[in-house]
């Protein structure tokens, strides 16, 4: 292909500029976690580890982190089970309403979070008479996490031929044995990718969580949001934010290790 050198240079410059815009704000957060000034005055007049020390002793942040991890693990477990079931049911059979079921699975993530949050809040409190807390957060998160597992498993099943499973059945294996020995090993990396996305989605979610958490339970995003506007707390919030930025490299690293799998689209 013939793309002139000037055009190439221009495109490279655009790419560099966009990447700079993407990373400068994140770098600022990390740098500010060492900024002596409590109001993050720019440029920093000096660097300190004081805020990191303070954040290490923040019980609120630590408790919220624990809640977030627990919610993420539980919601992901439910999503793995339900998402895999739905993908297997839809893949191997063609029936009326197949598209409607796909739409139903995608809906919780396709609609704005505020709609999902408000709908679930109303259903939990007025229809089911539940008090909002840990349990309702898990149910809400599982609802919008199903789609990530469903998408990954469905994509894998589409590329898989059913002849292996048929051979297993012909050789007399029961459906549960076939799943354990044939289907599951083939699905494993897709399940890992879907589970990873699901956990990340749950760990990061704030809008639906705000509507389903009630007053007592705090996930990490809710803790950050509530402390964001308190001038006293901002250095600690900033340290938590810096930690999360550094940690976001972890799933990318795992995804690279799974390189034969597609972990691209977040939808």
């Amino acid at each position: 292909m013939t793309i002139s050198g000037r055009l190439k240079a221009g495109l490279a410059a655009c790419t560099g500029l966009v990447l700079m815009i993407v990373y400068v704000p994140l770098a600022l957060v990390v740098l500010n976690s060492f900024n002596v000034s409590k109001s993050f005055a720019w440029p920093p007049s000096g660097l300190t580890l004081r805020w990191w020390n303070a954040a290490g002793h923040s019980t609120g942040a630590r408790h919220a982190l624990l809640v977030s991890v627990e919610v993420g693990l539980l919601a992901t477990t439910i999503a793995l089970v339900l998402g895999t079931m739905a993908a297997m049911a839809l893949q191997r059979a063609h029936f009326f309403g197949r598209n409607a079921v796909s739409l139903l699975i995608i809906l919780p993530i396709a609609l704005p979070g505020i709609v999902t949050g408000l709908a679930l809040n109303n259903a939990f409190t007025t229809i089911f008479g539940l008090s909002l807390g840990f349990f309702t957060i898990v149910v809400a998160h599982a609802t919008f996490c199903i789609v990530t597992v469903f998408n990954n498993v469905q994509a894998r099943l589409r590329r898989m031929s059913s002849s292996l499973e048929e051979a297993s059945a012909d050789l007399g294996a029961r459906p549960s044995t076939t799943f354990r020995l044939v289907t599951y090993p083939l699905l494993r990396s897709a399940l890992l990718a879907g589970g990873l996305l699901s956990f990340a989605l749950s760990f990061d979610e704030i809008i639906v969580t705000t509507f389903t958490a009630g007053g007592h339970e705090q996930t990490l995003p809710i803790w950050i949001f509530q402390n964001l506007f308190r001038p006293n707390q901002t250095p600690v919030v900033n340290v938590v934010a810096a930690t999360l930025i550094v940690l976001s490299a972890v799933p990318i690293w795992i995804a690279q290790r799974l390189s034969e799998t597609d972990v691209v689209g977040a939808g």
Partner: protein, 277 residues
């Protein structure tokens, strides 16, 4: 190789039952109840729900100039954010797919993906730091401060990867031979872009715009963090529920983005964008 279509057997039914129960009861039921609540009101004095069918909420939404302004502002911000992201995504996606070496391409994909994994809240917070009166943009003398401009910048920043990824995938599918043919036939780069590249990645752009549009329409957290006094649709819904305890009105207003998104999906279905999600 393809499996022959089979009628749904008992196995399919058993597999489908739990997810359908979960989504049908917990989610569809909840949406239905919310839709119903939009036609109720609350008692002005006690704040109790009045479960009598009325169109009052919708009348207020469409006739009250405040709500009309907020709806139009939200739509405008969504359009603007989508345009900014499209303009930023096109050159970087083209560079990644058609210019960069395979090695550089892999690195760029990671560089673009990485902020997608970084927390939404942290990214909005990062822009609070960028835009603050003591932040680096003020130091350079170019900070728009907290408000509508800052909000558009922040939202465009937040949703940018959602635009780059589908557009990049669309560019990768575009055969090099088409670009060669266009330049062999004497088209300058600009004409090739306008008449070959743009039409072929248009469905991908639309796919990206579904994310940028939907996410902007429902957002109220970033608005609170960097929007200053700006009111958006999401804030009105959240405040009506959380502060004013007026579920019916919040429900009625929450239906607006759903209708907009369903209408948008209906229009773009014809472009084939939904297969690009």
């Amino acid at each position: 190789m393809s499996t022959r279509p089979r009628p749904p057997g008992p196995r399919t039914g058993l597999l489908l039952l739990p997810p359908l129960l979960w989504l049908g009861v917990a989610y569809l039921g909840a949406l239905g109840a919310l839709f119903l609540a939009a036609f109720w009101t609350t008692n002005e004095f006690t704040g109790d729900l009045v479960r009598v069918f009325t169109l009052d909420n919708f009348r207020e939404l469409f006739q009250g100039s405040v709500y009309r302004t907020i709806t139009l502002r939200t739509l405008g911000v969504a359009v603007l954010v989508t345009l900014v992201d499209a303009v930023l995504a096109l050159p970087i996606a083209f560079f990644m797919a058609k210019v960069a070496s395979p090695r550089l391409r892999r690195l760029l994909v990671i560089a673009v993906l990485m902020p997608l994994w970084a927390s939404y809240l942290v990214k909005a917070y990062a822009w609070r730091g960028m835009l603050s009166t003591s932040g680096p943009l003020s130091w350079l003398g170019i900070s728009p401060g907290y408000g509508l401009t800052g909000l558009v910048i922040t939202l465009a920043y937040l949703w940018l990867p959602y635009m780059i990824l589908p557009v990049f995938a669309g560019m990768e599918k575009l055969p090099d031979s088409l670009l060669e043919a266009s330049s062999d036939l004497g088209a300058p780069a600009r004409a090739t872009f306008r008449r070959v590249v743009l039409p072929s990645v248009f469905p991908a752009l639309v796919a990206g715009s579904i994310f940028t549009f939907s996410l902007t329409m429902g957002d109220y957290i970033a608005v609170k963090i960097v929007g200053g006094p700006t009111q958006m649709l999401g804030n009105v819904v959240a405040d009506n529920y959380g502060v004013a305890n007026n579920l019916p009105f919040a429900a009625a207003y929450a239906i607006v983005p759903v209708i907009v998104m369903l209408g948008y999906l209906g229009i773009v279905r014809r472009t084939g964008a939904l297969e690009n999600l």
